[in-house]
């Protein structure tokens, strides 16, 4: 019976694959393949819609600007839609497989006396079976009011529906109720583990180096995995293949400079883009004990070997130094080497070797009457990945993606080093080095296959599966926990595998066009996350620790169901959409009640071996659901969006909140956003961004009891209390300097005001004893940002 069912399934699949091609075999068909690029710079364009206008059938260029469509023998027309560029239409006579390079011209500067409209690529959105995808580029980021004078990629992503900032001073995000560690950030395919600078005010992504940003809110393509909530795929520019170009900016917090150009014209190009913050230098004038500096450096080399081969080498290097009480130093770097190869017009491949490293050190000094203690805490994660990805354009109705990867990861969750000095009759200083948590190694393998299939003119499917194997390798002590207490430990030999986690992750999507300008979409995706992050604060901080899943803390899993409807109006310039989702998560982790992030005994006890922090964690279930409504415009003069999100997020984990369901730290029921950009004249534009959302949840102390002469404070249920709501209005004015015709040098001033209403948005609450009555605890809410004007100057030539 089972064999019969399998045969039937196989026959149905073969039927689905071959019916469209069987029909089209009555006419000869050929491939039209190639790249879409910027005419002026040679930059390959990602996500450009290339289509046959007569058949309304098309495809998006892949992450490297490559496309392939099937055309009949004879006369054909190819057209393009891409935001910010003029549409193009090309007539071709096809007699065999044809390779072309389509060069798009950037859209003319906006003219007041024209009612011209910039196309928004609505066709692609209406026919693609993908839910929860948001697409941005660096120009979109610049249109938003700058934050302290800086256009920041993560700040732009935080205003999008379904996404919220972990808190105001953090660039971490919560996507559809998930925690901030459940988001995968890729920079040219390299994972970035720490995305914040300066305690969270800025992100590590340099907007001048960014070409394309895709945010997948849960419906993650099968070629990616390892995180539950979202994928943020950021691609950097390749470098101008034709001319040297320089751009930069000077602001009150930091400055940036980008230089790009050809090394061999039309063959080899480079781009170097850097950002440096000098806020610390200014602060030192006021308070010599304070230091706050960071830098980012993006470098990329792009070489066109021949028509079928291209190589990219891109790197990122970033560093943070902060000294406010505690010293903290973060270091981030990535290196990606990628080789594109076209085997034949239907088969495109990308092979990558990727390295990613994140390391931080925090140090602290304390002194009591007779003792002093200086220590530093080191933690980090490194990984190397080799992967091969293929796009196979089977026919005009089927595009198959498949590939495989292998990754080696090294975790250093925590190492403590320092000096302890006892000042007594004899001053005695003892150095110590405690392996608070052993280094751990992981080997991971993954394979995937997926197909995007057009069944009819109205109906298209996307289905795929990802398989992954996550293996814990030995070379360290492994602890056995029973009832969350270490009962045994075993030293596992190096290179021996002591735990394996295999997962199959289906990803399914469907798109049905209800009319020429509307569509219904639905999707289901199952994802797993094996790399775990434990955070002291909900927005992340210096004591965050990455560690691998093992037999005590199993991988997290998530099933997400999404349903959406999108409708275009007014010549497809107004987009209205509604998306709903339900997400169920298992094995998510949280600290138990009373957990300690740094056991005092591990600091004061010398010769103590590894301390197992897994005793502090508990795993359980979570669920979230919500609805996202958005109205978005793409008019020439006025563009932007209005959105409302209703979203809830809950957890139920044993030993937390008496085992009862409690609010997730990222539960914010209501969020209302308005972003508007108005191009007043050719030289002046004004933008405004307003957000109003529910306050952060928190746990507060509110009662005290006395037993045996000692006072003991008591707390509310976990996350039971909600802080006042959050509101912020940012405004920005951009004025371009006058230019003469043919002038190469362009410059503009940007004036921004962050938090125009000067609303005090409380980030956290401190509880301090009242000076008048020590029995009274005053709740002091801390707001980080008041009204902050900023000014910056930008240039390019």
């Amino acid at each position: 019976m089972k064999a019969k069912t399998m045969r039937q399934t196989l026959l149905i699949l073969i039927f689905l694959f071959t019916i469209p091609s069987t029909y089209s075999q009555s006419l000869r068909t050929y491939s039209i393949n190639g790249y879409v690029q910027d005419k002026e710079s040679g930059e390959r364009l990602i996500g450009c819609y290339v289509f046959d206008p007569e058949k309304s059938r098309g495809i998006l260029t892949n992450s490297f600007g490559y496309f392939n469509i099937t055309a009949n023998e004879g006369n054909n027309k190819i057209a393009t839609h891409y935001l910010g560029y003029n549409d193009q239409s090309i007539s071709l006579i096809i007699i065999n497989d044809t390779t072309i390079i389509i060069k798009l011209t950037p859209a003319q500067p906006f003219k007041l006396d024209e009612v011209s409209i910039i196309s928004s690529g609505f066709e692609a959105k209406l026919s693609r079976p993908q839910t929860g995808l948001l697409n941005l580029n660096s120009k979109d980021v610049k249109r938003l009011p700058s934050f302290l004078g800086e256009s920041d990629v993560m700040r732009a992503i935080q205003v999008l529906p379904g996404i919220q900032a972990a808190n105001e001073r953090s660039t971490g995000i919560s996507v559809r109720g998930g925690s901030i560690d459940q988001n995968l950030f890729l920079l040219d395919d390299a994972p970035v583990f720490q995305i914040s600078h300066m305690m969270g005010f800025f992100s590590v992504f340099n907007n001048d180096a960014v070409k394309d940003i895709k945010v997948y809110k849960g419906d993650i393509p099968a070629n990616y995995g390892g995180r539950l909530s979202s994928l943020i795929d950021i691609r950097t520019k390749d470098g101008n293949l034709q001319n040297v170009a320089v751009s930069g900016g000077v602001g009150i917090i930091c400055s940036n400079l980008s230089v790009e150009g050809p090394i061999v014209k039309n063959r080899v190009s480079f781009i170097v883009s850097g950002k440096y913050s000098y806020l610390g230098l200014l602060y030192k004038r006021i308070e010599s004990n304070v230091d706050l500096t960071f830098y980012d450096l993006n470098c990329k080399l792009n070489a066109v070997i021949n028509n079928n081969n291209r190589i990219y080498i891109s790197s990122y290097n970033g560093n943070d130094n902060s000294k406010i009480g505690m010293n903290a130093n973060y270091h981030n770097n990535t290196l990606s080497m990628r080789w594109n190869h076209i085997y034949n017009p239907k088969l495109f491949s990308n092979v990558s070797l990727i390295y990613s490293n994140y390391r931080y050190t925090t140090s602290y000094s304390t002194e009591t009457n007779n003792n002093s203690l200086n220590y530093s805490w080191n933690s980090g994660i490194q990984q190397i990945t080799l992967k091969a990805e293929y796009n196979y354009y089977l026919n005009s109705n089927n595009t198959i993606d498949f590939g495989a990867s292998t990754t080696y990861k090294n975790f250093m969750p925590g190492k403590l080093e320092g000096n302890k000095t006892v000042i007594d009759n004899i001053t005695k200083s003892e150095p110590f080095s405690n392996r608070v948590v052993d280094e751990q190694r992981v080997q991971e393998y993954a394979m995937y296959i997926s197909n995007q299939q057009k069944i009819t003119e109205k109906l298209s499917f996307k289905y795929g599966i990802r398989a992954s194997l996550y293996q814990d390798m030995g070379g360290h002590w492994v602890y056995k926990l029973i009832n969350h207490q270490v009962v045994d430990s075993v030293y596992e030999a190096k290179n021996k595998t002591y735990a394996n986690f295999f997962s199959l992750e289906p990803r399914i999507g469907i798109n049905y066009r209800t009319s020429n300008n509307s569509a219904i979409k639905a999707s289901y995706s199952y994802t797993t996350q094996q790399d775990q992050l434990i955070m002291k604060t909900n927005g992340g901080g210096p004591l965050d620790v990455w560690f691998p899943s093992d037999n005590n803390i199993k991988p997290q899993k998530s099933s997400q169901y999404s349903l959406g409807y999108v409708h275009y109006m007014l010549n497809n310039l107004l987009e209205a959409s509604i998306d709903g989702y339900y997400k169920h998560m298992t094995d998510i982790i949280d600290y138990k009640d009373g957990a300690s992030f740094l056991e005092s005994s591990s600091v004061y006890t010398i010769n103590k071996t590894s301390y197992n922090f897994e005793e502090q964690l508990r795993a359980g279930n979570g669920y979230s659901y919500g609805t996202e409504l958005m109205l978005k415009s793409d008019f020439n003069k006025l563009n932007g969006f209005i959105s409302y999100t209703y979203a809830r997020s809950f957890r139920k984990i044993p030993d937390i909140n008496h085992g009862q369901t409690y609010l997730s730290p990222f539960d914010k029921p209501h969020a209302f956003d308005v972003f508007l950009n108005y191009n007043a004249t050719k030289r002046m534009s004004i933008s405004a961004n307003f957000r109003c959302q529910s306050g952060q949840v928190t746990t507060i102390p509110f009662y005290v009891i006395e037993m045996w002469g000692k006072a003991l404070s008591g707390y509310s249920n976990r996350n039971e209390y909600r802080l006042p709501s959050y509101q912020r209005l940012d405004l920005s004015l951009t004025i371009k300097n006058k230019e003469h015709p043919g002038q190469y040098y362009h410059s503009e001033w940007n004036f921004s005001i962050t938090n125009v209403l000067n609303h005090a948005n409380i980030q956290y609450v401190n509880f301090v004893s009242s000076k008048e009555n020590p029995n009274i605890i005053n709740a002091k809410g801390v707001s980080m940002l008041g009204i902050i004007p900023s000014v910056s100057y930008h240039f390019n030539f």
């Binding site: 005290v704 006042p724 004893s769 605890i777």
Partner: protein
């Protein structure tokens, strides 16, 4: 192109304009940094129902008058102190015997049994507290607790003789031999009396888990998993030679309690070790806030503990 006469011929006009713009930007930046506001502290109004019933009482197998104290928790927000709870109706039962508690007329909030009474090891005791309205909502509230009184360890004998202790110091070496049974304690808290005076000594449990720390408030007792069986054990302790003389009475006493009580005592210690329940030590700031556990139901409306435990003891007069 005509030369701009505002600038000398040898000066690059664009460079000057750029330089002036840059200076203006720097001046604006400095002004902005000094003028703009940053961190603000604001008073936050917190409205909570912060009235919990606090119970502090104990019940043992000793024949004594047993007591329970009832309080209403204090408020950290208003500074209202902990207040006694008067007029409650309290009884304790193991479904065989029932003990009623009466409020002491001189000390409100203190409830005591009518005369001496004792509990029995191996029995589960159910505490009931009713006839009070803690949250002042006009409805009477009821609270309960269920606790097992562990079977006390049974001492067989106590040997004492002079000799060298583990640290090679001369003293009086003592061994208290005992048996422990099914439904016995998870932990024992031992202490030594010399002529009825509390005495610290080094106590070790050689046949137990070996994990000892007086500050941890208990020794892990050997576990008996089969009903009807028992485990032989002994506790070893030493007293320094200058303390004990012939004719002195050496007593060894153990409180036998469950792991739940041990957990409460440990959590209470961890949360109050600084002497101030409000955390200023960096290690406290690096903790997830949590409430000390309680065995009073309903959870979330009550705090404190009702301690049900058994007591074992053995004494001996010391001869040289």
């Amino acid at each position: 192109m005509q030369h701009d006469t505002r600038f000398p011929k040898y000066v690059n006009r664009k460079a000057v304009i750029f330089f002036v713009n840059y200076i203006l930007l720097c001046v604006c930046s400095v002004m902005v940094i000094f003028l703009s506001s940053c961190q603000q502290n604001l008073d936050v109004e917190i409205k909570t129902n912060d009235k919990l019933l606090v119970v502090n009482g104990e019940f043992t197998n000793d024949s004594v008058v047993h007591s329970i104290e009832l309080y209403c928790s204090g408020s950290l927000i208003t500074g209202r102190p902990q207040a006694v709870v008067s007029g409650a109706t309290i009884y304790l039962t193991d479904k065989t015997d029932t003990f009623n508690y009466i409020e002491n007329r001189d000390t409100l909030g203190l409830y005591q049994t009518l005369g001496k009474c004792r509990g029995k090891g191996g029995h589960i005791y159910h505490l009931s507290i009713t006839n009070i309205d803690i949250d002042k909502d006009g409805k009477l509230d009821s609270y309960t607790a269920n606790s097992l009184m562990p079977l006390p360890i049974k001492f067989d004998s106590l040997t004492s003789k002079r000799g060298l202790d583990g640290d090679r110091n001369m003293g009086v070496i003592n061994r208290a031999y005992y048996k422990t049974f099914y439904n016995g304690p998870d932990y024992v808290y031992p202490y030594v009396l010399l002529n009825k005076l509390h005495l610290y000594g080094t106590i070790t449990d050689r046949l137990g888990s070996g994990e000892i720390n007086r500050a941890e408030k208990g020794l892990i007792a050997p576990k008996v998993v089969s009903p009807g069986s028992f485990v032989n054990n002994f506790s070893y302790f030493s007293i320094s030679k200058n303390t004990v003389v012939k004719g002195d009475t050496i007593s060894f006493i153990c409180f036998n309690f469950t792991k739940e009580i041990y957990g409460f005592l440990k959590e209470f210690d961890n949360n109050t070790y600084s002497g101030d329940s409000f955390q200023e030590n960096i290690y406290d700031q690096l903790k997830i806030p949590s409430n000390v556990s309680t065995n009073i139901e309903p959870a979330g409306k009550s705090a404190g503990y009702f301690f049900v435990y058994s007591v074992s003891s053995i004494s001996k007069v010391f001869y040289e």
